[in-house]
């Protein structure tokens, strides 16, 4: 099943929730399911570090 088909089926199903990966660089969104990096806490952190993001915090 393609990501586009997956997204359409999920967004029109009788669920009231979506787990998504939104890529604003490409202008694309897809359903996040299964053991994908974006559903892995450590993988998210590693991807941020590789990109030079060394701080995530709250300002106020």
């Amino acid at each position: 099943m393609s990501h586009e088909t997956d997204l359409k089926e999920m967004s029109t199903s009788r669920f009231n929730q979506l787990n998504l990966v939104v890529d604003v660089r490409k202008g694309e969104a897809r359903v996040a399911s299964g053991p994908q990096p974006e559903r892995d806490f450590d993988a998210l952190r590693r991807a941020q570090e590789v990109s030079g993001v060394t701080l995530l915090t709250h300002a106020s």
């Binding site: 997204l7 998504l20 939104v22 604003v24 974006e38 998210l44 941020q48 993001v53 709250h58």
Partner: protein, 136 residues
Amino acid sequence: MKVQTALLARYAEVEQQGGLLNVTGGGIDVFGVSRLPADFPVAFVLQLSFDDAEADQPHELAVTVLGPDLQPVGRRTTVPFTPTFGELHAEGWRGIFSVAGAIELTIEQIGAHSVQIDIDGKQAGGIPFRAVPADE
């Protein structure tokens, strides 16, 4: 349709059964970056509340990241969705449609940014954040 909650987080997902949100480190609004541009994923949470007239109707969620000059960084990204009331819905309550996951961000400049949330073509909310130089 209203944006009830909008957060960036260390991690976020919606449980497929029951729709509960699992959020870790919610409320991020400062990113320290050591080089530009910085392309990276960050977790997010949206809770959209809807009323009777909006249930069982198709809607469009759009996400746009705005940079310090208020110009889009990257592209406007749209997602179709159809909210519906659950079995335990009480009459008079607004429904909640939850969205969680990751946004692949691009930061090109130091300064204030925003994740703009549009519903059905109208601005409905946003998540402001700042990019600051990181200490090496």
